[in-house]
């Protein structure tokens, strides 16, 4: 398989994951604006930060308003991570690696693109937003379904999965990092409704506000929320879960190719760390520092994978 094809699949699935996560972030932001007591827009600032586009946004707009933030995240061509651009990039990558995809997986991607593109051709009204966000989640879900249902479990599958989980781990850690201060003990005030709303927003951003209740059977507690999103191996958007999947797929490649690379060691060490750490230890030594460390470790794994499997010309 070509290095460029592996790269194309890796990025195709990173972009699909990114589009889906941005849709969740917008969803959580919309929800927050409904429950806010004050009319401020700081929630949209943290959504923009979570999406990693806050400074780019500020170059285009004088202030943060919900309308501009939503437009920027949803369909602005100048934002390469906007849902529209991400889906287009996913589809272009899919077109490039068409021979590595099944017909079903390709058609789901192509139809997702055609549908979202026409839906986002004009600025949607506020009333249409929820339906559009739902549709994006459904369309990307269909791609995943077609992919899982039809793809051989071979190299293309492994590279696609690795792309998905590198992106997801990155997104989850950024969401937490933007909000880490509301999880700090200093900010913790029992019964503060504001904090409750903030915590719920974190969970909504990863579509986990209901699952949290099943697992922790408790009111929102900062340490539990951090545990859920970082260390809980059953939570499909947690860092531990992502690293478990990255390791599984890397070891398939190791077996298939009969070769182990640096990326295998780094990914394994990352998973080991996530399995051994206690959430309290992380909170005590500094959640922000931990997340920053993780984000750069995650990028390092991605870079090592792209080198090991010759994604680019040398």
């Amino acid at each position: 398989m070509l290095g460029r094809t592996a790269n194309g699949l890796f990025w195709m699935f990173r972009y699909i994951e990114r589009a889906e996560n941005t849709a969740r972030l917008i969803d959580a932001g919309l929800r927050m604006s409904l429950t806010r007591m004050h009319g401020h827009e700081e929630e949209w600032e943290s959504v923009l930060r979570s999406s990693g586009v806050f400074s780019a946004y500020c170059e285009h707009y004088p202030e943060v308003t919900s309308a501009d933030a939503i437009n920027y995240l949803l369909r602005d061509r100048s934002n390469p991570s906007s849902i529209l651009c991400a889906i287009e990039a996913a589809r272009n990558n899919g077109r490039m690696v068409r021979t590595a995809l099944t017909r079903e997986a390709w058609e789901a991607t192509n139809e997702c693109y055609l549908d979202i593109k026409s839906q986002l051709a004009r600025k949607p009204s506020n009333a249409d937003l929820p339906a559009i966000i739902d549709n994006i989640k459904q369309r990307t879900g269909l791609i995943r379904g077609a992919f899982h249902g039809t793809m051989l479990r071979n190299e293309p599958y492994n590279f696609s999965r690795i792309g998905t989980f590198i992106e997801r781990a990155d997104n989850t850690s950024r969401i937490l990092d933007v909000k880490y201060y509301v999880l700090l003990p200093a900010a913790f005030q029992v019964g503060s409704s504001l904090d409750n709303v903030q915590w719920e927003s974190i969970l909504r951003s990863v579509s986990a506000h209901r699952a949290y209740g099943w697992v922790y059977d408790d009111d929102y507690k900062p340490a539990n929320i951090a545990d859920f999103l970082i260390l809980n191996g059953r939570m499909p958007r947690s860092l531990a879960y992502c690293y478990d999947k990255i390791n599984v797929n890397l070891s398939y490649l190791e077996r298939e190719y009969g070769k182990r690379n640096v990326c295998h060691d780094t990914a394994k060490a990352t998973l080991g760390m996530l399995r051994e750490r206690e959430i309290q230890a992380i909170m005590d030594t500094g959640l922000h520092e931990f997340l920053q460390g993780f984000i750069s470790q995650n990028s390092r794994v991605a870079a090592e994978i792209s080198e090991a499997y010759r994604f680019y010309q040398d």
């Binding site: 070509l2 460029r4 592996a6 490039m96 390709w106 192509n110 139809e111 010759r310 010309q313």
Partner: protein, 469 residues
């Protein structure tokens, strides 16, 4: 009145269309229109689009598909196939000759300047014999029809013919939508084309290639107008689809960068033009090709299909010499006729062309895709006048042909069937044998009365049936 391939002047179906005509008369037009829309959705979903250059917004478009098949009888096809085979043999012999002994020039049948001053003639190919002795491996001969048994070759497309994916997808779609039609008619299959292409390419692998030859399709990338076809063919053949950036020359071989290191390629089906193939030999700014591939080629370590320099055989200026070329190399009269062609480079001819512009079709010698041509009968006085100036400025750049009364085949319109002009591009594979796929791409001018079938100019396509009889 142009010749209609389905109906006689008395509106009775001609023999090959009997089965279809009876079936069609039992269908409701509204149902067929709905099927038409279904077909379009299938194509859109599949992503079988082509890029239109210079159009920012609609950069990807569907080629309209018409659901009425174009049907050719077995006996008509046999004559066509013989004629095409003869022509394809002559093309390969001609290429071998002009890059070696140049006997046809010495015999005074083709002017030396026409070859050697032609951009499509590659001096790099002089004295070079490709593996298997084949220059043009994949050919799409454009054919038009004017009457019963009256076929003309319009163009030879010997360098990189495209459209075969439409032939295959059109058939696939028709079989999905109208299975009953394939029970009623014995239609010869085309769907083994990718397999035949693969075998054909493998058969001309370099002599030093051990074991199963490794084949790859070279594409300029996803923004090329025919990218869909490149991906489709690679997928169907089960070979890699590569871009220039995947390839390099290493230890005298062309190799591709895989996740496990570099792997040698034996046969490269390239869909990149000569100019861009090797920045060390041709355009130095090309990023689409492989630096040094021509050295590997000359050393006999890779097969390039079609061979570089093949364009000299389908050049429109050479076209007018095709009858002589066929006779020179096969010793026989051409089975298929050429469209009479006026070479504007000759002063007397230029005068004639200028005087008769409203009746002629004038084409650029190196043009393609229906760009830069004048269709006299459809052009306004002003357009003719403007074109005359271009002609006078660079007469050698143009050829002219009489407007043929192209045959028509009905398409489906709101009111039912309506005749539209068509052409035909059958596909030919050359290795140690010549294989002509029974069928091809029928292009149809969707606008009433229009003679321009190019997809970039509002043309559509049809499934093409060759009957078993």
């Amino acid at each position: 009145m142009p010749f209609d391939e389905m109906l006689t002047a008395d509106s009775l179906p001609r023999a090959p269309y009997n089965g279809y005509f009876n079936w069609h008369s039992e269908q409701k037009t509204s149902d067929l229109i709905k099927k038409s829309r279904d077909a379009e959705n299938i194509f859109r979903k599949t992503g079988i689009t082509f890029a239109v250059y210079g159009k920012e917004d609609s950069s990807e478009r569907l080629i309209p598909f018409d659901i009425v098949p174009r049907i050719i009888s077995g006996s008509e096809w046999r004559k066509l196939a013989q004629g095409i085979e003869q022509r394809v043999m002559a093309l390969n012999a001609f290429l071998d000759d002009i890059y070696h002994k140049q006997e046809i020039i010495k015999a005074g049948r083709v002017p030396r300047a026409l070859i050697e001053k032609n951009d499509a003639f590659l001096p790099e190919m002089i004295g070079m014999r490709p593996p298997g002795g084949v220059y043009t491996h994949i050919i799409g001969t454009d054919i038009v029809r004017t009457g019963e048994g009256q076929f003309y070759v319009l163009e030879d497309n010997a360098r990189t013919p495209s459209g075969v994916s439409y032939m295959l997808e059109n058939r696939e779609t028709m079989m999905q939508m109208f299975p009953e039609l394939f029970h009623l008619n014995k239609v010869r299959p085309v769907e083994n084309y990718p397999k035949l292409l693969r075998q054909s390419l493998a058969a001309v692998a370099p002599p030093g290639c051990n074991g199963k030859p490794r084949i790859a399709v070279l594409t300029p990338g996803i923004f090329n107008s025919a990218f869909y076809e490149h991906a489709y063919l690679a997928d169907q053949m089960g070979v890699e689809l590569v871009e220039g950036s995947d390839l390099r020359v290493m230890d005298g071989k062309v190799v591709m960068r895989t996740t496990q290191g570099y792997q040698a390629i034996d046969v490269l089906y390239r869909r990149v033009d000569d100019d861009f193939l090797d920045p060390l030999s041709f355009r130095p700014d090309s990023t689409l090709g492989v630096p040094g591939i021509m050295d590997v080629y000359r050393a006999g370590n890779i097969t390039i299909a079609n061979a570089p320099g093949t364009g000299i055989a389908d050049d429109k200026a050479i076209y007018s010499y095709m009858p002589e070329i066929v006779e020179f190399y096969t010793g026989q009269k051409p089975i298929l006729e050429n469209v009479p062609t006026y070479r504007c480079s000759e002063p007397d001819t230029l005068k004639y062309v200028l005087e008769n512009l409203p009746e002629l079709v004038v084409k650029e010698v190196h043009g393609s895709g229906g760009y830069g041509m004048l269709v006299g009968p459809a052009a306004s006085k002003r357009e003719c006048k403007e074109f005359a100036e271009k002609l006078k400025a660079r007469p050698g750049n143009y050829i002219a042909q009489p407007t043929l009364s192209l045959s028509t085949v009905p398409i489906l319109v709101k009111k039912g069937l309506a005749p539209r002009h068509v052409d035909l591009r059958p596909f030919v594979l050359v290795s140690n044998k010549i294989q002509i796929i029974p069928g091809g791409l029928t292009r149809v001018a969707l606008k009433e009365g229009s003679l321009v079938v190019n997809s970039s100019q509002g043309g559509g396509t049809k499934d093409t049936w060759v009957l078993e009889d």
